[in-house]
């Protein structure tokens, strides 16, 4: 059985996000005056083998720790869905 993991990567709160700032200014200048802050991130979708949600979660966490995320600057969250 296969599952899909949706991983959301964001810059840590303590890390300045110049892309987000630029987008925020663009939105403000387009008239969206209520926009206070924008943070940009990455989205990854991984389809993988796995019987149970917990076994898939275990793999995803290992992948994030080893390669997908740089813990110095990034945080992540994920969702696991059935195919």
């Amino acid at each position: 059985m296969s599952k899909t993991a949706k991983i959301y990567v964001t810059l840590k709160k303590s890390v300045l996000d110049p892309q987000g700032n630029t987008v925020k200014h663009a939105l403000n200048s387009l008239g969206f005056k209520g926009v206070q802050d924008v943070r940009l991130g990455k989205y990854m979708e991984i389809k993988l083998n796995g019987e149970t949600k917990s076994s898939v979660e275990d793999q995803i966490r290992k992948m994030c720790d080893k390669l997908l995320i740089n813990p110095v600057i990034e945080d992540y969250t994920y969702e696991i869905e059935d195919e």
Binding site: L11, V15, L16, P18, Q19, L67, L68, N70, V72, I73
Partner: protein
């Protein structure tokens, strides 16, 4: 002395490093393909600049798992000299041989120009021919060179003399306007605790002969040669 220049798919300063070492400094030098797991026989390993693996995922994140990196990590911990330039610096950060990470330049632009850097610590194999406070004219060429580390790490780097180069003006003042990319503390280069691993964003191999506009980078390679063989 024998140098090894590692070639990853996407490296593009490997030939400049090779040329500088062989033709200008008259040293023995080999290319090391990233799939070659052996680095025995080299006194100093150079991780050159470029765009290893197209900078996919994060700069250096995939190159860091190339077969050659296992030996480099092991040997670096034993004291062998490893110099990472630009993308090579990014790979060293991803490999955990140096602390911190690189973010996109503060102005979001790829910056390719001459800058000045100040020597902060001349007690390393890479800077022993300099005096503290010397100012070098040297080019940078990167899109992700904004050095970041948490406050504790920066304090430790400062305390242990691991900050080797800072961006400065021509007089050696590390002012905000002399900081091209937003790096914390104007940091342009750092070393590990033992001083045998150096990462720097500027390109010494592009400033090692007069015809290129500066020879200041050559002193870094000459320092390594002065340090001598690795036993």
């Amino acid at each position: 002395m024998k140098f090894g220049v590692v070639v990853f798919p996407g490296s593009n300063c490997d030939q400049d490093c090779f040329h500088t070492l062989k033709d200008i400094l008259k040293q023995k030098v080999d290319y090391i393909w990233h799939k070659d797991p052996s680095i025995s026989g080299y006194d100093c390993i150079i991780l050159p600049g470029g765009f290893s693996y197209g900078d996919y995922l994060r700069t250096g994140a995939i190159a860091r798992f190339s077969p050659v990196m296992k030996s480099i990590i092991r040997e670096a911990k034993r004291g062998r000299r490893v110099l990472g330039i630009c993308n090579g610096f990014q790979i060293l950060l991803e490999a955990g041989l140096l602390p911190g990470a690189m973010l996109r330049n503060r102005n979001l632009k790829f910056i390719c120009k001459y800058v000045h850097i100040r020597v902060e610590n001349n007690n390393t194999p890479y800077t022993k021919l300099f005096s503290q406070g010397d100012v070098l004219k040297i080019p940078i060429a990167h899109g992700e060179g904004c050095y970041y580390a948490d406050e504790d790490t920066i304090k430790k780097l400062e305390k242990r003399g691991q900050i080797i180069f800072r961006y400065s003006d021509i007089k050696g003042e590390a002012t905000p306007s002399a900081n091209p990319n937003g790096s914390l503390g104007n940091i342009a280069g750092i070393c590990n605790e033992d001083g045998n691993v150096l990462g720097m964003m500027p390109h010494p191999e592009r400033s090692s002969e007069g015809v290129l506009g500066s020879e200041d980078g050559k002193r870094i390679f000459e320092s390594i040669i002065k340090e001598g063989l690795w036993v």
